[in-house]
Amino acid sequence: MLIKLYMQFLKFGSFTFGGGWSIVAQMKALYVDSEKSLTDEELLDLTSIGRSLPGTMIGNIAMFYGHRVAGFLGGIACVIGMITVPMIVLMIITSFYTAFQHNIWVASAMRGVRTAVAPVILSALMGMIKSAFKVPPCVLVAVLMFGLYFFMRISAVWLVIIGAVLGLVICEYYERVRKLDVTA
């Protein structure tokens, strides 16, 4: 069982390019559509909880699924399976990068790639904005955190924690004062 889980997630992990959503699509194809061992709704729940817990989303989803099928060890088997191929690929690339970083052709290719990094992050940011601004004070949180990070150089670790506290405060305020449930 553990070996089967490991192999399944080894395959999922090999084909997750650019973000975790492709693994969810692969899990749907195998577990929901062909094996029918999981319903669409269950997968959605796994995904949404995996996403709202700290850490990488697909690591969390792998842990959830593995635990459901075969307990803690099942979870471990899925997580390890998922990271095996990406880790090996990246180790090889890192060695090459370190060796060829200063080669003129590699350096010019990387310089070209670097010009695309800010646009790539920016385009992903556009996608985040919609779900991030549930109520108007959320905009204020974003602006405040930007300022504290960019101008005051406060560590992102602290700012995320402050954000969590502000989230609690904002939701409680809306619920008690305005009788509005933001979480619904």
């Binding site: 997750t16 670097r114 560590s155 989230g167």
Partner: protein, 180 residues
């Protein structure tokens, strides 16, 4: 000691990041303050992680860990980044039904999501300041290429790996062949 430092750094990153790009401000902060990477290298790892399989956060962990302390570093950094998965997420899996509709979690995320938007916006500017400047001056060929990339991504919805590949090729021509 280096391994322990690396592990602790990625435990911090793991527990305060919520998927995908929200990890970048945390990784960038930890890597640069420890001197494990320069700002240009942070850009490179984001690009490399986007082009290779696997989640961004873990790919960054492998890259940073390996650069700082070789193979053991890569393993340790991954374990650190996965520590919330092995602890918190495991606990959540045990009490899955209870977590399914947890109100506090949603309340926390109501604040964490906009906070991440602010942080990620900060990182975009930070990286832009490094990537579009060349010894103190704005480097126009880079800026123009960046704008083209942005249009390809937002307007024409070209996928990220393709845009990165395109930029690499243009980079070879502009900076390698033409020497701009």
């Amino acid at each position: 000691m280096l391994l322990l430092e690396l592990f602790w750094s990625f435990v911090k990153i793991g527990f305060t990041s919520f998927g995908g790009l929200s990890m970048i401000p945390l990784i960038s902060g930890e890597m640069i303050s420890h001197g494990w990477m320069t700002a240009s290298e942070v850009s490179d790892i984001v690009a490399i992680a986007e082009m290779t399989p696997g989640p961004l956060g873990l790919n960054c962990a492998t890259f940073a860990g390996m650069r700082a302390a070789g193979f053991p570093g890569a393993v340790i950094a991954n374990l650190g980044a996965l520590s919330p998965t092995f602890t918190l997420c495991f606990a959540a899996a045990v009490f899955f039904e209870h977590f399914r509709k947890n109100k506090r979690l949603t309340q926390i995320m109501t604040g964490v999501r906009p906070a991440c938007v602010g942080l990620v916006a900060g990182v975009v500017i930070e990286l832009a300041l490094v990537n579009y400047y060349d010894s103190g001056n704005v480097h126009f060929p880079s800026v123009i290429l960046g704008l083209i990339d942005l249009i390809l991504l937002l307007k024409f919805k070209i996928s990220i790996p393709k845009v990165l590949l395109f930029s690499a090729l243009v980079g070879i021509i502009l900076f390698g062949v033409m020497g701009l």
